[in-house]
Amino acid sequence: MQKKFASVAAAVAIVGALVASSVAPANAAVPGIKTGLKIAIMPKAVNIGYFTAWNKGAQTACKEIGAKCTYVGPTEATGPAQVQFINKIIQQKYDVLVISAADQNAIVPSLRKAKAAGITVVTSDADVAAASASARVVSVLPAASARIGTAEVDWIAEAVGKKGSIAVLSAAATAANQNAWIAAMGPYLTSKYPDMKWVGGTVDKSVFYGDDDATKSTAQFAAILSQYPDVAGIISPTTVGVLAAAIEKKAKNAKVKVTGLGLPSQMAPYIEDGTVEKVGLWNPIDLGYVAVYAAARAKSKSFTGKVGSSFKAGKKTYKVTAGGIAYLGDPFTFTKANIATFKKIY
């Protein structure tokens, strides 16, 4: 385990030097953080590969700060299912909850309850609705929605040679992250790339929802092709969707270009064989790692979470920006050149 982590961290250090503390001994106190904190790490749903990686980073951080971390959550990625587990966290008097919101609204009342019970809540990966930001101390997100959205447009533009029509294969219609990213894609594509357009005219009419389900995502990929035979590129800003798109593109030998956000470990075969030129993603391990630090520091009162304040995780310092959100940084991109390295990490 230790060795594995070392290699992981080393690889990460090579490419981004985001997490540098490859030598952190277990149970060593980190200045400004209480030891022995009881921390719950709650994904949208357990049994999902992306969150397994996210949890990996969180567990690393916990070891560094001498906290006891539990990975707990429902089998279905819905708000109501998460609420049951939030209640459990409250009952069991956890100190800290790090959560990826499966529903940006439905869990808010429960988070407020957790807060009232003295639990420090930090959202990571997926935040609650902006209007409910007070339900958590801070949110640790990969990058600003606009940056993720526009980056994906740039990738697809590069792939299709800056001309042609584009469609989006998203997760659930109600997935807040994806909706925010897609909103940012719309105007950016039309203003920056005059020879490109959305297949449905506007971005709203060009989105297909695969519900983060392999079956439905595959069907929707096929639906895009049959509805818009001349589609040049498909952006799928979700790991299940982009994987399904890649598999299906390969199966059909389709000419359409595919890009989006995907785990390198799952996308590797398709990048290696050229089905997909480029996908991107932040490092979920880092995301979990940083979120635990933010939460532990907030609990230890060495970080307020206020806009403008900052906290240190590993060797890097993160600043809280408008809306109470700390960003990890721009997503990495994975191509043939670097996929071999990354696929071993996450």
Binding site: V46, A214, A222, P229, Q266
Partner: protein
């Protein structure tokens, strides 16, 4: 003289088939892309999993039973195949594992329904939960990726035989085999008798419990083996694979004229029903029906199909007791 098989087909499957033709024609006229080879492949490949399961489900529905556990079984089996393969086991080992899983689930369902005479809806709802829970416990957050899929299965998913996807061929061959069995083998004919008139079936000495058990066993076995189809189709499997498939499968059967009330229907109808539903889904997109309305239209069409079926089955004129003068 008319061929009997043709005649049977005419009774219930033809309206569904006509519906399918109408959907394809309208859609194809509005959007020529629907008529291309890839349009054909979209539908046939897309329907392979549901069609395979619908064939198996027909066995139990004609007996007036139902098996809701198929979605959990097929997902679990797909995962087990990929997992075993990634650990270096050979193709046949993986398939044996899939078959074994299906047989176990089928045997449990069959025993409880046939010998303890418990309602199949409740029993298979329970096994749906239990199998899904075991599956999730074993799979955790792992995802089966393409490199873990046995080569043969991967090949089947990606390739076509003169333009026809192999997976669809698998479903069609299964349909023909089971169709032949259901038509031509005595024990399979008993399933229709059981669903048509249970009391009379007992009266003529049909071994009802044994038949019901075997049918559930067969349905389980096919669902287990169908894990390979699911895996081939998506080249990936994870803890939520196959979630909710059971309702699509039952819907396909019902639309294809396999009546919930038992006794009626063929695997041909079930497969045509599955193709029709798939074609409708594709057509809604191709016709530009807004995404957010597609599910609604699907629901309406499903109810319409059930109503049509009901209409066709009650059209038989009542028996007159008033003599012929």
């Amino acid at each position: 003289m008319k061929n009997l098989i043709q005649k049977t087909l005419k009774v219930r499957e033809i309206p569904v088939f006509l519906g399918l033709l109408i959907v394809v024609l309208i859609t194809g006229t509005a959007n020529p892309a629907f008529f291309t080879l890839s349009g054909f492949q979209d539908i046939t490949l897309g329907v392979a999993v549901v069609a395979t399961l619908a064939v198996a489900q027909t066995l139990v529905i004609v007996m007036k039973h139902i098996d809701l556990s198929v979605g959990s079984t097929i997902g679990f089996s797909a995962y087990l195949i990929g997992d075993a393969s990634s650990k270096g086991h050979g193709f046949w080992y993986c398939m044996a594992l899939a078959l074994g899983l299906g047989l176990v689930v089928g045997a449990v369902n069959g025993y409880l329904v046939a010998y303890l005479k418990l309602p199949s809806l409740v029993v298979t709802l329970a096994t749906l939960y239990i199998v899904r829970g075991l599956f999730n416990e074993i799979a955790g957050g792992n995802t089966i990726t393409e490199d873990m899929v046995p080569k043969a299965i991967n090949f089947m998913g990606l390739n076509t035989f003169f333009g026809i996807p192999y997976l669809f061929l698998v479903a069609v061959i299964l349909m023909l085999v089971v169709g032949f069995i259901m038509k031509r083998l005595r024990p399979a004919r008993d399933l229709y008798a059981i669903g048509s008139n249970l009391a009379a079936a007992e009266l003529v000495g049909i071994p009802v419990a044994r038949r019901v058990f075997l049918a559930f066993l067969a349905t389980g076995a096919v669902s287990g083996l169908a894990g390979a189809v699911l895996l081939a189709r998506f080249n990936t499997a994870a803890a939520n694979s196959g979630n909710g498939l059971e309702l699509s499968v039952v819907a396909a059967c019902v639309v294809g004229g396999v009546a919930i009330a038992g006794g009626i229907g063929t695997v041909y109808g079930a497969v045509i029903g599955a193709v029709l539903l798939q074609a409708i889904t594709m057509a809604l997109g191709a016709l530009g029906v807004p995404q957010f309305w597609q599910l609604t239209v699907n629901g309406i069409l499903l109810i319409a199909a059930i109503s049509l079926d009901r209409y066709l089955s009650t059209r038989v004129k009542p028996t007159s007791i008033m003599g012929t003068n």
